[in-house]
Every structure is written in C-alpha cells, then in structure tokens.
C-alpha cells in the first residue's frame, strides 16, 4: 500500500536529480511519496495523434493509480496533470487527490520554512507561461520568496502555451519566447532565469552558455536554500563541447551505446 505517488511523468527521466530532490522535499514536509513515471506510467499524451493508443496507455496508468491505494498523486508534468483531471479522471474516475509538487509544497510551507536556512543571493525571473491549470504560476513565486536572499522579480511577459514543449515545434515561437524572456531579464536586472517545467529547462539551459546568465529550475533553487547538494547533469551535458566524453564511455555502454548515439547525443548537440 502506497500512501502517495510522485508522478513525475516521462520526459523527466532527463532530470533524475529533480525527481530525487522533489521526493526528498515532500518527505521533509511529511509526504512519503513513491516516484513513478516513464513509459509504464504514461498519461497517453505522446500518442495523442492516435487517440485509441493514448486511451489505452492512460487507462493502464489510471488503473494502476487506483489500485495502488495511494491517497494522493503529486504531479510534476503539466500535461500529465491536466490529463489526470480531464480525459483520465473523466473516463476512469479518481480515487486519489492530486496536486502539483509546487502546490503540495506551498500548502505545507509552514514545515518548509524552517528548512530554508541557506541564503541564496540571486535576482531571479521566472519563465512563466500563460496557460496551465496546475496552480504553479502562483505557488512557485511564493516558494522562491521563502528562500533567504532570493529576490523574485516581476515582469508582465508570459510565454504562450503552458510550457516550452509546444512552442518548440512551431516555427519562430520558441525563439520569440527566448528573446522576450531575455529582454524581460534585462529590463528587471535579473541574473538568473528560473524554469518551472522540465521541457522549459531542457530548452532554456543553453542560454547559460550563449548569454552568460544562470538557468536553474525552481527545485534547484529550493534545494540550494535547504542546503541540499545536487548536480544538473542534463545542463552540463547540453552545454558541453563534447557531451559524449563528459558522460563517459562506461555510462554510455551501461545505458546502451546504440540508443545513446541515436536518441540522446543528437538532442544534446542540437543548436542552442
């Protein structure tokens, strides 16, 4: 019997440290949540162009949640979060309460505040998007303002979509969002761009190398405030001249050399 699940989604496998940190933070505020995700816990979204397949994946995941006995499903991915409430919940019903990680931590901020002991001197602008029903646009700024030393700057710009993923396949849309976000950073005097979701982090970490700014996820920043060590390997790989060498032959062999060459390295070496 599982008390709570931390449903991190599928594309978060690029960011193992965020899953570890998120799980640790939940535990620190009193929620013992078992991480679950990857292809076997898919919301069906990647296969939405074939709804019959997407439905099968979503049903399998919802059934496993309902059968787990979990009273809470803590989400990360906004697509999963929305699907949980619309297609999945509407057709399978829900046995568990659900909230995004940021909401879950914000609701328990009384337990979080005493743990935020490390000053973090950063002036941050958050990569906000217009749309999402997850409540994170309210919770994330609130959480960051709890960290001693952090200044959260306000700017009215909001990128379209609910995260960068959707913009990446629309010609010009992601480039405009990056350009507008950099202009907002300059206008506010921010030194750090804070991403909310994984796809935004994936798309924006390259700005650290090309524009001399810091790019952190909100969980990283919270971890710094709590004094928790972490390593953002995806960012290091993405900004390396030679990600293959940085990952190392031994890890590549263990992960499957053919798959890494075909699926991982092209993503890490694409234009920033």
């Amino acid at each position: 019997m599982t008390d709570a699940l931390f449903w991190y989604g599928c594309n978060m496998t690029r960011h193992a440290e965020i899953i570890r940190l998120g799980t640790h933070m939940l535990e620190a505020v009193g929620v013992a949540a078992a991480p679950t995700g990857g292809p076997s816990a898919c919301c069906g979204s990647p296969k939405e162009s074939t709804p019959r397949i997407a439905e099968g994946m979503a049903n399998r995941t919802m059934n496993s949640f309902n059968e787990s006995g979990a009273k809470q499903v803590i989400t990360w991915c906004p697509t999963c979060h929305m699907n949980l409430d619309d297609f999945m919940g509407a057709t399978q019903g829900k046995q568990a309460e659900s909230a995004h990680l940021a909401q879950a931590l914000w609701q328990r901020r009384a337990a979080l505040v005493p743990l935020l002991t490390q000053p973090v001197a950063r002036r941050v602008l958050i990569d906000m998007h217009i749309g999402n029903g997850t409540g994170v646009n309210e919770a994330v700024p609130g959480l960051l303002r709890l960290i001693p030393g952090v200044t959260v700057l306000d700017h009215p710009y909001r990128a379209p979509s609910y995260m960068c993923f959707g913009l990446a396949s629309i010609p010009g849309a992601l480039a405009d969002a990056k350009s507008n976000m950099l202009a907002a950073m300059e206008a506010t005097g921010a030194d750090t761009l804070v991403t909310i979701f994984h796809s935004c982090h994936r798309e924006l970490v390259g700005l650290e190398r090309t524009h001399g700014i810091r790019v952190l996820n909100w969980v990283h920043l919270l971890a710094e405030g709590m004094g928790l060590p972490y390593e953002d390997e995806y960012k290091a790989w993405r900004n390396s001249d030679d990600p293959e060498a940085l990952i190392g032959a031994e890890r590549i062999a263990a992960a499957g050399e053919e798959a890494v060459r075909k699926l991982v390295l092209p993503e890490l070496t694409r234009p920033r």
Binding site: P39, T91, Q92, G93, Q95, P160, Y162, G256, E267
Partner: protein, 143 residues
C-alpha cells in the same frame, strides 16, 4: 473513503463517449463569433491565418471536428494550438475552445487531414535517458 471507492466518479464510459458528447455539446453551443481566434497568442505563428476571418476559421475548425478538411487557416490553427487556454475565458458561450481544437486535432490526425506528431522515438528516448541518469535501484523502483 474505503478501498475501491472513487472520490471522483467517471462521467464518460471511455474516450469515444467523451468525444461524442463533448463534440455534440460544442457544435450546439458555438456561434462562431471568433472571440477564441482573436484571443489566441498562437495566431501570429500561423501564416495561413494572417488576415483570415475569425468566424470562417472557427467554422473550419467545427468542420474538422466533424471529420471535414476545414480551410488552410483552420488546419494551421489546430496544428499550432499549444493549449495556452486564453480562449477559454474569452468564449461567451462557455464552449471550451481549447478542448474544441484538441478534439478537432484528434479527428484530423486520425483521418489524415493534418500529419500526426512524430513520436515514434519518444518512449525509447525516455528510457535511454533513464538508463543514463537513474541508478539501477531507481530504474527498478521508479519506472
């Protein structure tokens, strides 16, 4: 709440029923006023929609929802929707245009009106990153 009890009961028996009921509701409610089109931040990225009639483009989306081809502006808009959700409060008839475009996209991809998203490697890539970043125990327990 006891074992097996649901805190939210299902409203539809499956996705086909959801699509059928919601499509009928939206087709009945939508007046093609075009407020959703005018509010959408993605129109700027749809070349065929530049200068297009908002009402005609919405009618094109309604046609796609029913299995038709729509016009070029409607096809471009459906393909470019990234669920910003600005259209939802803009709609005076509570149609939920974001769901309208999503369901129109389902149908359009099923009948070949717009090309499906290429996601054939998506899950293999997810697994490859997991093997790189997760420990063996994490792979066993988290996936």
């Amino acid at each position: 709440m006891g074992p097996g009890e649901r805190m939210v009961e299902p409203r539809y028996s499956n996705w086909t029923a959801l699509r059928a009921v919601e499509s009928a509701r939206m087709l009945a409610a939508c007046t093609a006023c075009g407020a959703c089109f005018e509010a959408c931040p993605m129109i700027a990225y749809v070349p065929a929609a530049q200068g297009a009639s908002a009402a005609d483009t919405v009618r094109g989306v309604l046609a796609m929802l029913q299995g038709g081809q729509g016009d070029e502006a409607a096809r471009g808009w459906v393909a470019a929707c990234t669920r910003s959700a600005v259209c939802v409060p803009a709609c005076p008839e509570a149609v939920d245009p974001m769901l309208l475009l999503r369901l129109a996209k389902f149908t359009a991809q099923e009948n070949g009106t717009i090309p499906p998203r290429d996601a054939k490697d998506a899950m293999s890539r997810v697994k490859a990153f997991a093997r790189l970043g997760f420990s063996e125990t994490e792979q066993k327990e988290w996936l």
